[in-house]
């Protein structure tokens, strides 16, 4: 490689394209293509993440950015119901709530996602609580109560090395209550009574808190396992802020500043001094669940109650958000067709083209444009299909049918064996030699029956728990799923997901909203997209499934229903829609790349 030093006498590399590996951090190079000097440095920033499944305020947190918990809280001032639940966060989405024993707000919480403690708080009986619960990753168990009831106290440390500090009861408290995983003992008192401070730590001896009430404090106090020492002040005095990290490397963010203003300010702490960060919360927030480290933190919820989640990341990487973009349009507008293939090699097969109805037309997509492909032998609508652009299958019809056709890349061939149960408006997924048809309408009734195709004949598969029609599926025969749909006559919309392992169906995480006429795509049971549909109005909503829960993704360019989906959760395709639309949209998942900085002379 030619170096900048060889040309100009300076030791800077000359490259035609930017390096893509993490080793570029801290280097400076000259990009001869763009004619610019560039580098990669770590920069902190807050970004949005998957919304919680319910609005929460006065909620507490524990764990890390990729394995965290939101614990308790309330649903808000208009309906101030205290929540007796927690929810797990995996770095992008939240799981369905898990029941706690006590409904409370402003508990002292600490620990990890699989070993957390929630202590005290203000319970729904109107009392300051001394109750304590432990979470093991699946359920909450009541354990030894606090010696001193407290609300708004700071929780820090680990399940077997934790602290509950300060808070309020009849007065503001200075107590430190140490927890060893089974019982409580008194620790060193804090210099001044404090509640609602930013706090964190992974053990008693690296715990800290800063700011808090009464009033708007700015002092930072550090624990060594025995006693507390006052350290540097926050630059912005506040209470109700979030804290992450340990006492030598921490963050404080958000909270409330005088007289009553939610803050977006983030400060970083090095063990002695706080420095205001250029990174600010996207939405000013207070009384939210805070957890994580100084380089990977989470602040979830707000006051008034909200479902928002904000993430802080200090990284050399900069994700490019997922997005939908318009693709090449169909020549023939259509709805309720089947499809096969990928985002760059797909088929749109048959479908309803408006009066006179079913079509034999097939179009082929190359990632840019649609072109004509060999026609079906039988005009079909409300059919299912799957496979690839050169090895596809389509089956069923309206009026209900079990007839099957296979495509080899050059022509369609009607198969001698049809499905045992004629149907339409069902979910389908798989490949040409291992395809599945699930549920749908079998006449007047909505069915739960499924059938599997092995490339030659159809056999019965496991029955769905929920009979349904007008829904979608994704994956392969041994790792598939179906989601959404409706009853007959389409009066109830379903949100439930069912997963198929090749033999039987099990319940998966529910869609955020009951939806019929939606589209789906995805390669496996743990990586799928659902988009569009009726809720009951036509929507552009997109959600992604990770094997346990659905999380929000950017909406489609336009509200669409009764089209067809192809591809994967990171390279998906939406084709057509009702009424007989020609539109095609392409989904590209989040891309993580180095965050290049261009150096300038000014």
């Amino acid at each position: 490689m030619t170096t900048y030093k060889e040309i100009f006498g300076k030791p800077i590399k000359v490259v035609s394209s930017d390096p893509t590996d993490a080793g570029a951090e801290g280097q400076v190079w000259y990009n001869s293509t763009s004619g610019t000097f560039k580098t990669v440095v770590s920069v902190g920033a807050w970004s949005s993440s998957g919304n919680m499944l319910e609005n929460r305020q006065n909620v507490e947190g524990a764990g890390t950015q990729t394995a965290g918990l939101a614990i308790g809280g309330a649903t808000g001032p208009a309906t101030p119901a205290f929540l007796a639940t927690s929810s797990e966060y995996n770095g992008s989405s939240w799981s369905s709530p898990v029941s706690k024993n006590v409904a409370a707000i402003s508990e002292a919480t600490f620990g990890t996602e699989t070993a957390a403690v929630a202590a005290g708080g203000y319970n729904n009986s109107g009392a300051t609580a001394s109750t304590v619960e432990e979470y093991n990753g699946s359920s909450w168990t009541a354990v030894t109560s606090l010696p001193q009831a407290t609300r708004g106290a700071m929780g820090m440390g680990a399940e077997n090395s934790g602290l509950v500090v300060g808070g309020e009861e009849s007065s503001v408290l200075t107590n430190t209550q140490e927890y060893n995983g089974s019982g409580w003992t008194a620790g060193g008192a804090i210099p001044t009574g404090v509640y609602n401070a930013a706090a964190n730590g992974t053990s008693e001896s690296n715990s800290w808190f800063a700011g808090g009430s009464d009033g708007f404090k700015n002092a930072t106090v550090l624990y060594n396992g025995t006693s507390w020492t006052v350290s540097g002040n926050l630059n912005t005095a506040r209470d109700q802020a979030g804290g992450s990290g340990i006492q030598t490397d921490a963050l404080a963010f958000g909270g409330r500043t005088p007289p009553n203003n939610p803050s977006n300010v983030t400060e970083s702490f090095n063990g002695s001094t706080w420095t205001t960060s250029s990174a600010t919360l996207g939405t000013n927030a207070k009384q939210a669940a805070a957890f994580g480290t100084s380089t990977a933190a989470v602040f979830a919820g707000n006051d008034p109650a909200a479902a928002i989640t904000q993430e802080f990341n200090f990284s050399i990487y900069s994700p490019i958000a997922a997005t939908w973009a318009s693709g090449g349009a169909l020549s023939t507008g259509r709805e309720s067709m089947s499809s096969a293939g990928t985002q760059t090699a797909a088929l749109a097969v048959g479908g309803r083209v408006g009066p006179p109805g079913a079509s034999t037309a097939v179009e082929s997509y190359n990632g840019t444009a649609m072109s004509g492909a060999p026609s079906l032998n039988t005009a079909r609508q409300y059919a299912g299909g799957c496979g690839t652009q050169t090895a596809a299958i389509t089956y069923a019809n309206n009026p209900v049918s079990g007839a099957t056709e296979e495509y080899d890349g050059s022509s369609w061939a009607t198969q001698p064996n049809s499905m045992s149960t004629a149907r339409r408006s069902f979910a389908s997924f798989g490949i040409q030699t291992a395809a599945l048809a699930a549920g749908g309408t079998t006449g007047p009734a909505v069915s739960s029956l499924t059938e599997e195709y092995n490339g030659t004949s159809w056999t019965a598969g496991g029955a769905l728990s929920q009979a349904r029609q007008y829904y979608a599926g994704a994956g392969i025969e041994t790792s598939g799923l179906v989601f959404g749909g409706s009853d007959n006559p389409n009066s109830t919309k379903y949100a439930n997901t069912e997963e198929y392992g090749g033999t039987s169906w099990t319940a998966g995480g529910a869609l955020p909203t009951g939806t019929s006429g939606l589209m789906g795509c995805g390669a496996t049971q743990t990586a799928a997209l659902a988009f569009g549909g009726y809720q009951p109005s036509k929507v552009a909503t997109t959600v992604e499934y990770d094997g346990s829960a659905w999380s929000s993704k950017p909406a489609m360019g336009g509200a669409t229903a009764e089209g067809s989906g192809a591809g994967t959760n990171v390279a998906g395709l939406s084709i057509g829609g009702s009424p007989a639309e020609t539109g095609v949209e392409e989904f590209t998942g989040e891309i993580v790349q180095l965050d290049y900085k261009t150096l300038t002379s000014s």
Partner: protein, 95 residues
């Protein structure tokens, strides 16, 4: 040229605003799904990509005011005991 543009857009969660967005332009969220956005090409593109609806500052302020007023009304209706658990939502003036 004005420093900010204003608009409404629904926070859809992850990817709604990214770390890269935050570095490219000013962005701050307010009640009623109101967003104050740095007035540059990247900011304007962000609002468009989020299916946002651009508002005048007065329109955006009115939306925020209405949301805050509703939240204040809800808070005022709480019992004294419940009021002690959170503070009355304060008025917000858009930058």
């Amino acid at each position: 040229m004005a420093h900010f543009i204003y608009g409404t857009a629904t926070n859809t969660g992850k990817g709604f605003f990214t770390a890269e967005d935050r570095r490219e332009f000013f962005l701050r969220g307010f009640p009623a799904d109101v967003w104050c956005i740095g007035n540059n090409v990247d900011g304007a593109r962000w609002l468009a990509e989020k299916n946002g609806v651009e508002k005048t500052k007065a329109e955006a302020q009115a939306l925020v005011d209405a949301e805050i007023t509703a939240a204040q009304t809800a808070w005022d209706a709480l019992s004294d005991e419940q009021k002690a658990l959170s503070s009355r939502p304060s008025d917000i003036t858009l930058p």
